[in-house]
Symmetry: C2
Subunit: 319 residues, 2 copies
Amino acid sequence: MPSEFDLIARHFTRGTSHTTLGVGDDGALIAPAPGCELVISTDMLVEGTHFLRDTDPDDLGWKTLAVNVSDMAAMGAKPRWATLAIALPDADEAWIAAFARGFFACATEFGIDLIGGDTTRGPRNLCVSIFGEVAAGKALRRSGACAGDEIWVSGRPGRAALGLAHLQGRTVLGEPRRSDCIAALQRPQPRVALGLALQGLATAAIDVSDGLLADLGHILESSAVSAQLKIAVPPAPTLERDAWLCGGDDYELVFTTPPTKHAQIAALSKTLGLDLTCIGRIEAGPAGRMDVIDADGAPVIVPRRGYDHFANGSAPART
Amino acid sequence: MPSEFDLIARHFTRGTSHTTLGVGDDGALIAPAPGCELVISTDMLVEGTHFLRDTDPDDLGWKTLAVNVSDMAAMGAKPRWATLAIALPDADEAWIAAFARGFFACATEFGIDLIGGDTTRGPRNLCVSIFGEVAAGKALRRSGACAGDEIWVSGRPGRAALGLAHLQGRTVLGEPRRSDCIAALQRPQPRVALGLALQGLATAAIDVSDGLLADLGHILESSAVSAQLKIAVPPAPTLERDAWLCGGDDYELVFTTPPTKHAQIAALSKTLGLDLTCIGRIEAGPAGRMDVIDADGAPVIVPRRGYDHFANGSAPART
């Protein structure tokens, strides 16, 4: 069996493009650009909780980094560096090679240097920390939504949840929907370009990791406001409807903007080639309250908003 | 059972003293001081590999952060911020409270803000990323040792290994040695003040996590030099001798300095109240070669230098 150091050197040491000192010392050295703040986020993915033992390691490598990149997008930051700590039950080199291939595909796509990490023996666990740059004072936070703001969502949340339902045999999707939804689950596309473009436009933003309503709820709580949502969904629960409202793992962005910016957001949608849909309005009211009506104005009853590891579910939830 | 968010809020959200935005958004925001580079390191601790199930959670909280602080010390950096990702098999609040107590004791001791993290269900796993500041160009690296440099070590490595041997019944230590060695194992004291003082004095530095010879070996490899060590140990293996040469987990610093700095290092030892011992000299020669002689000049045979998770051992090894 090759030694740990061989494995790391072979698969996880690549050149860096904008790093003073990368992997191989007690710490990495980076020099954030003058005038920028550094945005930092960390996520831990555990086998059996966030992914299954037989998940394709190439896809898993992509997703492990992509979910962190998405946090940078939600902050309006440009992702620049990442570290990767891994616990593995054995030194399965084919698995490690495929994981590294997916991980670096995502790193290359978003211009990220891998600058450090740790490899150890243990139940499979992947922990990424990611570092992005944002002009000082320009980060998008959850706490800035104001009464009167419009609420927007990118893409169409729920595709990843439908892809999972198909793979688990809970529904049958026909092509091309099937491929689209499975790709949304396995190779999510963080909305970095959108996040950067929203600097100076959005008053608040978050990425949809736990579900559209759950994550919008975090904006409402942080901003101490309510929301009135008008969404073209059936009033009664269906898998499709619940995936759209409550499905996690899509990594679209939900954001709020003053109504005066409506035309700019519509234009941005064209520029980016990305659907941006206005789904409602922020209102003064109890923090976190959310009223959902359908296209005809009839109330939509939503049973739950998302997941919580230690209370009632098994999908990811974050700090 | 309290929800994940309740647990996090109750035990891991504390005030910050030098952070723009802490826990609670998609990312934290920090503003490194102008003229500084940021030093980044990450370590993952796994139950059964790095600590035992019945490890006191208060001690474990301290050590989880302290081993990362030690990486900052080895780089000559001032630790400033950290993130903590945890996987836990259950929401055992007494365990979490004790772990948080130890973790924040270390954070307070070294002036570190906890700025983010992740909590998830899974086999117990603790992953810290740490961020320190160092004046641009002043970081201590492993790669700067030159022929003629003196090799120094702080404190007395091996205490942690002896403490572990005592706890495992492989030796019996009398007081006060017993308490001293067990404290070295359970509450290691990272040498941050020493690391900061070595800026401009040391040509290379590393912390002793895998063992004195193993970690000195990393300096020799990175610097492409050899070493002649003269150490007052018995020539034949004893537990005490092997702990001193090969025992990990002490978090002392090994560093090299030009011989012209000898008096300054001796004075620094007095200032810091910390033993600093000159154990040999760097020589031109094959990268990594190490000759060890005892106080009488007789060669000391050393069987192995450290541990490797996937090859032959179970103690920590890092990138």
